[in-house]
């Protein structure tokens, strides 16, 4: 029962991560990209929560604690991302990452 649950939950988080990655790869809109990053991050957070729950003995930091820290981190990251979006938008009037390809080769 537990085995199955871990596997299925892992499958869920892996799917989340895949969605996040898919978003990062395909979206050109910076805001959507940020959301995709968040989704990916959440997959990791979710994992920590599961594993903390299923693991009998936990050494060191507990999964829940890590999850909380990561939520904070994700927020910070997004904040930074937004700052960059704003600057980009002010500078170019576009938040499409496809427009920012002057640096290449």
């Amino acid at each position: 029962m537990t085995e199955l649950s871990v596997a299925s939950l892992l499958f869920l988080s892996a799917t989340l991560l895949a969605i996040g990655l898919f978003g990062i790869l395909t979206r050109r809109n910076f805001i959507l990209l940020l959301i995709a990053v968040e989704i990916g991050m959440n997959a990791a957070i979710l994992n920590f929560v599961y594993f903390a729950g299923f693991s009998g003995t936990s050494h060191g930091l507990s999964g829940q604690a890590i999850a909380v820290v990561l939520v904070g981190l994700a927020a910070t990251e997004v904040a930074v991302g937004l700052a960059i979006v704003l600057a980009l938008n002010r500078q170019r009037g576009s938040i499409n990452i496809g427009d920012a390809t002057t640096l290449k080769l």
Partner: protein, 647 residues
């Protein structure tokens, strides 16, 4: 020690090029001659091997492996009867030619160079003669070669002279290289002969006391020794212009006539024969070697004579004659009578130098070498004509001139040898045939040049007799060409020529089989008469165009196409090969390199296309990397590791 002084003295005069330096050079050459005469006198009184090794050139300590006794190269001096004799030849002719040059070269530029090179030549030649070991011999051998190179190319602005010099160097180089191989082989023979202080350890010396170092190996018939002997022959063939390395000598006539007389008639070319003599005395030949030597000598004798028959150039006629006569000497050595070869060398040096100097006197007077332009020179140039005639008679082997005695000895020694070696017969016959040819061609030249009333080419300058510095050598050499033949009848001189202790049958001076002598004299006389008949009194014999002999004449004039063949070989094969190599070098090797370069550049360019500037692409690389890693770690690696079996 006395002879060391000669060496030093001659080296010294290279430095002093006062004015033209000619007289200085003459002086030193004279001094050398005096010393040589003294040496000969000493040897005549006490024939002995005097050896002095004063200077070690390079030395290796012995080691357990290949050279248990070590290895050294030494510069030393060996005076013995043959070297004394040779020394006499070299210095006497050298001195006379130097003297002659004062007059002959009078108007030329670059005289200091001339005398310096000539002096260097004499130095090297005397050095060669008194070498006490094979390596030293080789060293001086090469040096005389390079002097010859310089002197042939003396008129270096003439392309033909520069080309002839190159040719001479190259062709003799072939022989030299093989000679060097021969030295190596003797080195091995020594190592295998073994025992005691080795030949190599004592510096390749010829003699140990008075027995040859390689005495133990002499008289053997191993393949190695045969090959070594053949290599000596090859070296000699290069230097002495024997078939098939003879082509350079006629072309060497591009040099001043004095040079031709000294180097390309009397001394340097004789060094090849001298090498064979020395080798036969100190290193030993196998029977197979002997046959090869006889074959080369005998064939060359005839072969060169045929070419002399038709040639229009006075110097080249004499040059072919030189080759032919050197063939006689080689023949004698091969027949096992090394000292007979020496004897012929001795007389030949005088009469051939005489012929050349006389020819030089003619050329000096009329400014051309073309026999067909000359004619009627007897009256204005009596001394020269007489000198030429003496030389020619001597060459033709007419008694009592010097050439008669020595040539007769050669023929009889070959005859003697042929008794026990039937394979020698054909070459004896060739040798006799050559006696006839020799007499014919040299008198053809004589009559063309001197007989008749006037020169055939009226544009030539009015001929005049040579100045005294040129005449004096002619007188002396004429005298020698007459009397040198009888020297061996002086007992003490004969003792010089009879060093036969080393496995050589003593020569048979003068004790001629009268029938053989008569045959040879008869053939010579017949040749002279034929020449007189065809060319005497200013006549010019013209071969009918439709004559069956015409193609023969063409072949002879073109020297059997051998030189052309060699040139073709050099040009097509060697140079062509080198062009191909060069092409390969530039396009294949370097092309490959450039190809790799271009490939790298293209790879770089292609890879850079991946740097699109679009961040999504970068992210996709990351994701692809992750997927790849997952596959590698989770799926591929287990199987790989399982198949490898783990560490």
């Amino acid at each position: 020690m006395a002879v060391s002084f000669v060496l030093v003295g001659l080296l010294g005069d290279r430095l002093k090029k006062l004015e033209h330096g000619g007289w200085v050079a003459v002086g030193f050459a004279g001094a050398a001659m005096v010393v040589a005469v003294l040496v000969v006198a000493a040897e005549m009184l006490h024939p002995s091997h005097y050896s002095d090794q004063s200077f070690t050139w390079l030395q290796l300590p012995g080691s357990p492996g290949a050279f248990p006794n070590g290895f050294s190269l030494v510069i030393g001096v060996l005076v013995d009867p043959i070297s004394a004799l040779m020394l006499l030849v070299v210095t006497v002719v050298g001195f006379l030619v130097m003297l002659y040059s004062i007059g002959y070269m009078h108007a030329d530029r670059g005289l200091p160079r001339y005398y310096a090179e000539l002096s260097l030549f004499l130095t090297a030649m005397t050095g060669l003669v008194v070498s006490d070991n094979l390596l030293e011999f080789f060293l001086f051998w090469e040096l005389v070669g390079v002097c010859s190179y310089f002197l042939i190319g003396f008129y270096y602005e003439k392309p033909s002279a520069a080309s002839a010099a190159k040719e001479a160097f190259l062709v003799t180089r072939v022989g030299d290289v093989l000679f060097l191989l021969g030295i190596f082989i003797y080195f091995t023979i020594d190592a295998t002969a073994g025992g005691g202080l080795g030949w190599a350890a004592s510096g390749f010396k010829f003699v140990n006391g008075s027995t040859p170092f390689l005495a133990g190996a002499m008289g053997g018939s191993s393949t190695l020794q045969t090959v070594a002997g053949l290599m000596m022959l090859a070296g000699a063939a290069g230097k002495s212009a024997q078939f098939p390395l003879h082509t350079w000598l006629p072309d060497a006539m591009e040099g001043p006539t004095t040079v031709s007389a000294l180097i390309h008639a009397a001394t340097m070319v004789a060094a090849g024969v001298y090498l064979l003599v020395v080798a036969s005395l100190f290193l030993g030949f196998t029977p197979d070697d002997r046959l090869a030597i006889v074959a080369v000598g005998g064939f060359t004798t005839f072969f060169a004579a045929t070419m002399a028959v038709v040639h229009p150039d006075i110097k080249r006629v004499i040059a072919y004659s030189t080759i032919s006569q050197l063939g006689y000497m080689v023949l004698a050595v091969g027949a096992g009578f090394a000292m007979v070869g020496m004897y012929h060398l001795f007389t030949h040096a005088f009469f051939k130098a005489l012929l050349f100097l006389a020819a030089g006197s003619v050329i000096h007077a009329v400014g051309t070498q073309d026999l067909f332009k000359m004619g009627g020179l007897r009256r204005p140039m009596r001394v020269t004509a007489a000198a030429f005639a003496i030389g020619a008679l001597s060459l033709s082997g007419i008694p009592p001139f010097a050439g008669f005695f020595s040539k007769d000895d050669v023929l009889s020694s070959v005859y003697t040898a042929a008794q026990s070696h039937p394979a020698y017969w054909p070459f004896l016959i060739l040798a006799y045939a050559t006696v006839f040819l020799t007499a014919y061609y040299i008198f053809r030249a004589f009559f063309l040049a001197f007989s008749g009333d006037k020169t055939r080419d009226p544009t030539l300058p009015h001929p005049h007799e040579a100045p005294w510095v040129m005449r004096l050598p002619l007188y002396i050499l004429s005298g020698l060409a007459i009397v040198a033949g009888v020297f061996p009848f002086v007992p003490s001189f004969a003792s010089l020529l009879s060093i036969g202790a080393n496995g050589n049958v003593p020569p048979v001076f003068g004790t001629t089989d009268l029938i053989l002598s008569a045959l040879s004299v008869g053939l010579g006389a017949a040749g002279i008469l034929l020449a007189q008949a065809l060319w005497g009194n200013g006549r010019v014999y013209v071969l009918a165009p439709e004559s069956a002999l015409q193609p023969v004449r063409t072949i002879l004039l073109n020297r059997y196409y051998m030189k052309a063949g060699y040139d073709e070989l050099g040009l097509r094969l060697v140079y062509g090969g080198s062009r191909i190599a060069d092409f390969f070098e530039r396009y294949v090797i370097d092309g490959t390199i450039r190809g790799i370069e271009r490939l790298a550049a293209r790879l770089s360019g292609t890879l850079r296309q991946g740097q699109t500037g679009l961040v999504s692409d970068y992210a996709s690389y990351v994701v692809a990397g992750v997927v790849g890693l997952l596959i590698l770690l989770l799926f591929v690696a287990p199987f790989v590791l399982a198949s490898v079996g783990g560490p």
